[in-house]
Amino acid sequence: MSETPARVEEVPTAEAFSKLDTVPDTPDELGTRQRAPRGTGDSIVHWLRWAWYTLTSMRTALILLFLLALASVPGSILPQRGGTDSFKVPEFYNAHPTIAPWLGHLGLFNVFGSPWFAAIYLLLFISLAGCVLPRSKRHLTAMRARPPAAPRNVSRLPLSASWVTSDDRDLTLERASEFLKAKHFRTDRTTSTVNAEKGYLRETGNLVFHLSLLVVLFGIAITSFYSYSGTALVKESQAFTDTAIDYDSLSHGPLVDVAKLPPFSFTLNSFDATYQHGGSANGDANSFDAHVSWQPNLQAPARDKTISVNHPLSTQGTNIYLTGHGYSPHFVIRDGSGRSYDEITPFLPQQGTFQYQGVVKLPDAKPSQLGISGFFLPTASVDPATNAPVSIFPAADNPAVVIGIYSGDLGLDNGIPQSVYTLDTSKLKLLTSVVMHPGDTITLPDGLGTVTFAGYQQWAAFQINHDPGKQVVLVAVSFMVLGLLFSLRVRRRRLWVRASADPAGRTLVEVGGLTRTDASGGFDDEFARLVAALRSSIAPLAGVDADDRSAVVNDSAVLNDRED
């Protein structure tokens, strides 16, 4: 919001300020926020005006800012539906059956998509716009305006210096003017003064920063309307085409036409992973590389590319990210009727272990439906404590499967959708539980057929995102940082040089300096340096005490000269 408030009195020279305030069209960082006008009646217009002034006031903006921070807190502590830990929301409901529904009603499981969160930031942005837009207009005017006229008594400014020179008044002012121009001050010469101002970049930076915030919001709006995002699990040698049907899940903004997604496609040729051996990080992945060949559209020639973590494939504003990896055991199953099935089914990694879980369903098997449920162990070993098979490493160094084979009713015929990763065993009979290595075949009892563990393939999980708003956001935040640097580093300051002649042909030089935005200090040093440099170009009169005003005749006509 506005960097500076409506009313600040920090420097005791009231005259200097009243002087500044008499320049109506060049308000600076201060005086931009007025108090709500009071007491002109209780009409609706008055009320609305009061509401607008209140909303756009600094105090309200600060409160909204802190409310935004406060409102974010539950979103970081409770699991969030839209977030990466959305699966924890049902867990939370189970663990806290009394309080969870209440929290749910308050939107605390979807804080960042909740109406009250949106209300806070929308109010904040309206408040911001109500402050920044009028200020930008004023700043544009101020940048074209001349520096403000000098206060009557320059020596009473917070910083001042004076000396007497033998140069005449015009020469003195000419030199002062040239000097300040060379120092990149905006200067304005009058009969008896040089008015100079510098540091407009502070307010420019301040406004650029705040306007950029509005653009960020605009970018976020574009994102929510025009972006889509989906996930797809792709097996080795399998192809993915950017159509809704090829996604495992797809969410999109209301203005996205899912029938017209960009027509790219890619095939996962192979997948490489390397892992950490030994140490506390044993089994942690060192690298994941998905080697794909892809086409931006069906007519274009296929190109090769390696997608790895941090290195997505980009095409037509869409990015394809590698987000996961696992194995698909390859089963060849011959049922009782002699029909053969070739099943390569993705098994999903189990958190905290090096094994992969999955199921295979054969609803068409005769004489009875068959199901396989179990684990793929990339590096199979035997747990010395329990004698149970375990996987001790995520690389496929000694692959095996530990499976149960079922026959009976898979429960697929009643029309209720089932997860492809779980097996409903309520109407199934466990035929056998076995550990198999590649090439092993087991014959099922009762002439139900045979199952062969033929080998395995790898699969990769991809996230596919299209977000046209993110470029807008990126440009806006870049300007934000730039604006911030200028608004915090630059200080706006004014310098006035007044020269008054005495009859003896000598000139009293008075320099006054004022800054209202010097929070980090340092203007006094700069002023001292400027004055020192100025004195070397306007030489002091030898033998005259610099502060000896009596050396100069106070010509009232000179002092009353209008400095405009």
């Binding site: 992945a285 929070a519 502060d547």
Partner: protein
């Protein structure tokens, strides 16, 4: 590439040495602060007087001296402050006699020892980095090392430009405590990183976060001192008795502290902004979304908001001074929360606390 065990061990030894040096530096700063420039009878001027005195003194210096220089202005300001500012600094000003001279030497020695500690810590961080062939800020232990290093660097840089030796105690206290915590609790052996962290954005994003947090810490130290000094000044001006007078008396002017704090925050805030943005860009590369309200992101955002609030509050009538200082303290509290609570107790995509 495998971890270089020898270098990793060297890093551990260097950091142990660094902690010892910092602890000695802390002790020196404490002695300097407690006994330095407190000659009996040298009353501390009330801040209001000093503020009034400074302006005419400045103007006088400028108009009086034939060629006013930076040093002139500084010493004029120091004179207006009753000589406190520079007397407690690097020793620019006319020193006291006897006891004061001795404690000043202790203060200078504290700077020297801190500098040695800083060099040892630089060596520790570098050798850890070479041991694991990457930027050594991939877990809480390494991050704490880097953060405290940034704090001490910021302190030394400020010290080189301004006479702020008095900050030493309040900067070295959290530095030594944090390093102790790092070595005793957060320590993990040197190891490579998971693939998600294999990116030059690790260097950019985390380095910016480290620098900003380190400078925020120095600003926080100055803010705490400001609150103590300001309370003391208010109470003495009102003629009320003050507890912990000895602590309060060693503080410089509240205004100077407030300005030092503001400079630190105004310096760190754009860097923090950049750190958050760099994190968002990296997230976009790594996870496909630039912002997902991951707990760590959320708290970085909260920190950003609170410090933005501080910058605004400081410029708002009725909020500046104590209230703005409280906002600044809240800002650092959110950093602490993000680092300890979010890393350890709240799971998210930034799950590489490594403890």
């Amino acid at each position: 590439m495998p971890v270089d065990v020898g270098l990793a061990k060297l890093s551990n030894d260097l950091i142990a040495g660094g902690i010892v040096a910092y602890a000695l530096g802390f002790l020196g700063f404490a002695i300097d602060a407690a006994y330095g420039n407190h000659a009996p009878g040298a009353a501390k001027p009330a801040p209001a007087d000093a503020a009034v005195a400074r302006v005419p003194a400045m103007a006088g210096a400028v108009s009086g001296a034939p060629t006013p220089t930076h040093a002139d202005a500084a010493s004029a300001a120091a004179l207006a402050d009753g000589g406190r500012t520079s007397a407690s600094g690097l020793g620019l000003a006319r020193g006291g006699s006897g006891n004061a001279g001795f404690t000043r030497r202790i203060g200078i020695a504290a700077i020297a020892v801190t500098l040695i500690g800083w060099l040892l810590q630089a060596g520790a961080i570098a050798s850890r980095g070479f041991a694991v062939h990457r930027m050594p800020w991939g877990n809480m232990y390494e991050f704490t090392l880097a953060l405290t290093f940034a704090s001490v660097t910021a302190f030394l840089v400020i010290l080189a430009r301004q006479p702020v030796r008095y900050l030493g105690v309040f900067v070295m206290t959290p530095v030594v405590l944090a390093l102790g915590l790092a070595v005793l609790v957060l320590y993990v052996p040197a190891a490579p990183l998971m693939p998600a962290l294999h990116s030059y954005w690790l260097a950019i994003h985390v380095t910016a976060a480290v620098i900003a947090s380190g400078v925020f810490m120095v600003g926080t130290a100055a803010t705490v001192m400001f609150l103590v000094a300001e309370r003391y000044a208010m109470a003495t001006a009102a003629g009320k008795p003050v507890r912990f007078t000895a602590l309060a008396r060693m503080m410089p002017e509240p205004d100077a502290l407030d300005r030092t704090a503001y400079r630190a925050f105004a310096f760190a805030f754009p860097i923090w902004t950049f750190a958050v943005i760099a994190g968002a860009i990296w997230a976009e590369y790594a996870w496909g979304h630039y912002w997902q309200w991951d707990p760590k992101e959320t708290w970085a955002f909260i920190t950003w908001i609170v410090y933005a609030g501080y910058l605004h509050a400081r410029a708002t009538a009725g909020w500046r001074g104590r209230n703005a200082a409280y906002v600044a303290l809240l800002g650092f509290a959110t950093i602490i929360f993000n680092f300890f609570i979010v890393n350890v107790f709240i799971s998210g995509m930034h799950s590489y606390a490594g403890i």
